[in-house]
Assembly symmetry: C2
Homo-oligomer: 325 residues x 2
């Protein structure tokens, strides 16, 4: 077990819980502790729960910290501050702010000889890798990203705030005709609303005015009004049985012509029964890359675009060439 | 144009011709010459055609050589010998011999301060990258590779040797039911023949015994006998109109369970109207990676698994983080 990578988790929401479980599936990883802002005694974790205030006491026991917080408020504050003391991995996904987040982490990490990988997951993450790959190998073409079928937390929260809604979830669903059109190679111009529809499953309060609920949702500005929206009313039992998971996924597709006027299509697909489970599995995988970058003396911030695929594997380069190339 | 990458091509078959055209599509690339074992005057190339015997005279004019020969006899000889004098990229695809080919190239390149990337293309190549990615991020699961619908040169040659066959092509086609079964997550055990069927289009000689042709093909050991094989007889005009391209493609699919017992599926797809066009476009792309590795002082042999995706792009790391991450 000399080469075991020792991981700490910061935060114990959906990602933190999934990451704790994921670590067990990786034979070369070991979980040390979960750090939390809550009272550690209230955490139902398998790993020891420790107050975030004590995290610096763990510097020598942890190789890589997985930051499991959200991009809105947690990571912008925790990321740069923890990268001063630990090598870190996070799933920062506020696309517009990535350049400044990268700079902040890079400064903290470099100054202190640490190594951080930011924006790890599937989008940003595996989808980004495919977007770069596709754009690079086929310069003349157009790349599309579709998301779903997937549970949208923000939209689900929005419908649950509508009067008369007892329970509700919203799925973002790629429009099949748009996918077909993209795959045909015609390179259509499509806005987000032409690529995706919104499907809601709702348990109404007793005696609620369902027609009014449906109207309120469908006319909600920004969230639903611009989109093709469908509202299904279901009973509570069905809701409990069929809508408790957090599925997600999507498609990155590029079509284009190669030099001798031949149509080429590349496509990357994910179909995930659990979004946080998959995201955290990727986060944990990248701990191997952090260790390899550290061995090479590379410090500062990195993204998934900067890291060779062999760094993600627990297999040797020889094994990979023999069995995977 | 100071940063233009100067490329030489070795060989002018399907890959060489496509590579010559591909170079024009890459704004940061420039073709210098095509080197050939044939009489250069017989080559119908746009780039200057030069005898392979004069290739060493071009050492200072070429940054990277793209080796466009075949894996059976050309590359095992040309690869290690040219890697002594040039940085090289090839599409060596004899999977079983990759480790020894890698070692031979690595020795030649390292000794002489050159940088070579071997086995570039889509399989080995993009498919290999996805196999490693999939295996790394989802340790509990099973990965499948399907090829096609694609023209198989070897099988097409085999049917053209059958008495009474005037013209013929063979396509390897993934079996739809097998794809569905794999995607379902049931992780079936499937042999190559349970994943693929073989479909032949044949123009028969006048008065040929079609029934006998069909029987001869379907019972051909190794090539067709183990497979579900369909033989279509078509007229010569249809053959000329519909079977002159070299389409190919395929699927890499992994299904598995993440830690909290959720089903996850990853899939990479290619649908190519021209296999040599796409392969050569990837070969040319990797010239950027060779230049970046050289800048870092990295010499020896590399595979696609050793190279970060950002090295494939003509965009800066900042641009990639801003627009692609």
């Amino acid at each position: 077990m000399t080469n075991t990578i020792r991981l700490g988790l910061v935060g114990y929401g959906n990602i933190g819980k999934s990451a704790e479980a994921a670590i067990e599936a990786f034979p070369d990883m070991e979980g040390v502790a979960v750090f939390t802002r809550r009272n550690p005694e209230t955490l139902n974790s398998k790993l020891p729960a420790v107050s975030i205030d004590q995290i610096l006491e763990y510097k020598d026991q942890i190789d890589v910290l997985i930051l499991c917080g959200g991009s809105a408020t947690d990571l912008p504050e925790q990321g740069p501050s923890l990268a001063k003391h630990f090598s870190t991995i996070d799933s920062y996904d506020n696309h517009g702010e990535i350049p400044s987040y990268f700079s902040a982490i890079d400064a903290s990490a470099k100054e202190n000889g640490n190594t951080s990988v930011i924006s790890v997951g599937w989008d940003p993450g595996l989808f980004s890798m495919n977007r770069v790959l596709f754009d690079s190998v086929l310069p003349s073409g157009k790349t599309y990203t579709f998301w779903g079928k997937g549970l949208s937390q923000g939209h689900s929260d929005a419908i649950r705030r509508v009067a008369g809604v007892k329970k509700g979830v919203q799925y973002t669903v790629p429009i099949e005709e748009a996918l077909d059109e993209v795959r045909s190679g015609s390179q259509p111009s499509l806005s987000a609303k032409e690529q995706h529809e919104r499907v809601c499953y709702i348990v109404a309060e007793e005696n609620a005015d369902k027609e009014k609920i449906e109207q309120t949702i469908k006319t909600m500005p920004n969230y639903f009004e611009p989109y093709q929206t469908t509202v299904h009313f279901i009973d509570e039992e069905t809701f409990e049985n069929e809508h408790q998971k957090m599925p997600h996924g999507g498609f990155v597709i590029r079509t284009g012509e190669s030099a001798l006027e031949n149509q080429q299509r590349m496509e990357f697909q994910l179909k995930l029964e659990s979004n946080p489970d998959f995201t955290s599995s990727i986060l944990v995988t990248y701990a191997r890359a952090v260790m390899k970058l550290k061995e090479e003396g590379k410090t500062g911030a990195f993204s998934v675009l900067d890291i060779p695929l062999s760094y993600l594997s627990d297999k040797t380069p020889e094994q990979l060439r023999k069995d995977f190339l």
